[in-house]
């Protein structure tokens, strides 16, 4: 079996019947889908032919390996079609072969470059350097110590228990009775004809001041006092109305 015998290798496959070089030409012209070609069948046929010889022809084996590898590569890449794939229909066989071979050659170069990068990464794996902010330390593995099922059940029961209702006592507002301030203001007016409201309530809390103001309005409503304020937010002066 010489080098020409590889090209003339007669194939009898489901999708193709004829010599090997015709199969290659049809594939390159895209007239035969590689997905339909049983490459394993091609290999088996070649091995059968090889077995008929007394001694193996290494040159023929080498060429067959290269051509079969190219077929397999084309078939594998054909499984992921590119939208921009150039149509080979318009090309004659030589141009199609040229285009395919060109693409394969380019791809092979970058595949080899990727291999070089991988080797380089391996040979430079002991290079450590500071990269901007300090990198994160590896997360230490903390295997769990042997656990008792009963203690786990106790822990789960504690988690499942209803938590106590939170206390809202600190949010409660305590309102003093309005009557307290009514009596207080009446007592002040019995001693003085007038007083300044702001001075009387200055030391009280905001809630107590609000209730004191309500008491003031009640007295005004009952006609017991008169109120005066020169401008908004100015001190309020209170006069007692004689009965």
């Amino acid at each position: 079996m010489d080098a020409y015998a590889v090209r003339d290798l007669d194939l009898d496959l489901d999708a193709f019947e004829g010599p090997f070089d015709l199969l290659l030409t049809l594939v390159l012209k895209d007239e035969l889908g590689l997905a339909d070609v049983d490459v394993a069948g091609v290999v088996l046929t070649f091995i059968e032919r090889l077995a008929e010889r007394e001694s193996p022809d290494l040159e023929a084996c080498g060429e067959f390996l290269v051509l079969t590898a190219a077929l397999l590569e084309l078939k594998a890449r054909g499984l992921f079609p590119d939208e921009d794939e150039l149509a080979f229909d318009d090309l004659d066989p030589e141009e199609a072969a040229e285009e395919l071979a060109e693409r394969l050659a380019i791809y092979r170069r970058f595949k080899a470059a990727a291999g070089w990068f991988e080797e380089r990464l391996d040979s430079e794996s002991d290079r450590y350097f500071r990269l901007g902010p300090a990198p994160l330390a590896p997360v230490p593995q903390r295997p769990l110590a042997p656990q008792e099922p009963t203690s786990l059940a106790t822990a789960l029961r504690a988690l499942a228990a209803e938590p106590p209702a939170p206390s809202l006592r600190h949010l409660e507002l305590r309102f003093p009775p309005v009557s307290l301030f009514l009596d207080r203001f009446r007592a002040v007016l019995r001693k003085r004809r007038r007083f300044v409201f702001d001075n009387e309530v200055d030391a009280l809390s905001r809630v107590e001041q609000a209730v004191a103001f309500l008491a003031l309005l009640e007295l005004r409503k009952a006609g017991e006092i008169k109120l005066g304020q020169p401008a908004p937010f100015e001190p309020i002066t209170v006069w007692g109305v004689a009965a």
């Binding site: 090209r7 072969a97 071979a101 970058f110 080899a112 990727a114 990068f117 990198p135």
Partner: protein
């Protein structure tokens, strides 16, 4: 009478450069070092030579290296095991074959767009490109034209991870895949004979 030692001015500059290299997040060029230290580039080179002899493998745990177009400190290789227990190296960990091929295309042809990468590799490159951008090994480098595809180039971090002083240190593509032409010739020969 006290004895006063006369300090070599290059020693003082070397100490300044040491300080600059310690705080720098990336390699510093001679020009950057000269600007920061307000000194001349020739004297900076001399000081770097002094530091290189001081910070070298076998003598110091810190090594001065010329990488990615500048100078930077790194850990000595003999301390690599200890370093690996202290810090992760997520940038270079677990780069897939697709990522390495994409990286090779960008390194040799960059700036290059995703469609161009896909045309060479024969498969879509979106995922590989996104992964490399996330790792900081490649970065956007403008568009082919207004509204065109985004192009990518390798970053200084790429050069540092691979220990390259510049991209010119990459081997020639033809040297890496010498069998490409042979394959092409064989395919052409076989197909051409049928077409003739």
């Amino acid at each position: 009478m006290s004895l006063r030692l006369v300090e070599n001015p290059v020693d003082r500059l070397a100490r300044t450069i040491e300080a600059l290299l310690v705080i720098a997040p990336s390699p510093l060029s001679i020009e950057e070092l000269a600007t920061a230290s307000e000194d001349e580039t020739e004297r900076v080179e001399t000081a770097l030579g002094l530091l290189a002899s001081r910070y070298r493998e076998g003598r110091s745990g810190i090594v001065l290296e010329h990488v990615s177009g500048g100078y930077a400190f790194r850990a000595a290789r003999e301390a690599a095991d200890a370093c690996s227990r202290l810090v992760e190296r997520p940038v270079q960990r677990g780069l897939s074959q697709a990522a390495l091929e994409t990286l090779a295309v960008v390194a040799y042809l960059g700036p290059v767009s995703r469609p161009e990468i896909a045309r060479i590799r024969g498969v879509a490159a979106d995922s590989a490109v996104a992964g490399l951008v996330e790792r900081g090994l490649i970065a956007e480098a403008g568009r082919e034209s207004e509204g065109g595809a985004v192009r990518y180039r390798v970053t200084p971090l790429f050069e540092r991870v691979f220990g390259l002083s510049s991209l010119s240190e990459l081997p020639r593509l033809d040297d890496l895949a010498a069998d490409g032409d042979e394959l092409r010739a064989r395919l052409e020969e076989v197909a051409g004979r049928r077409g003739a």
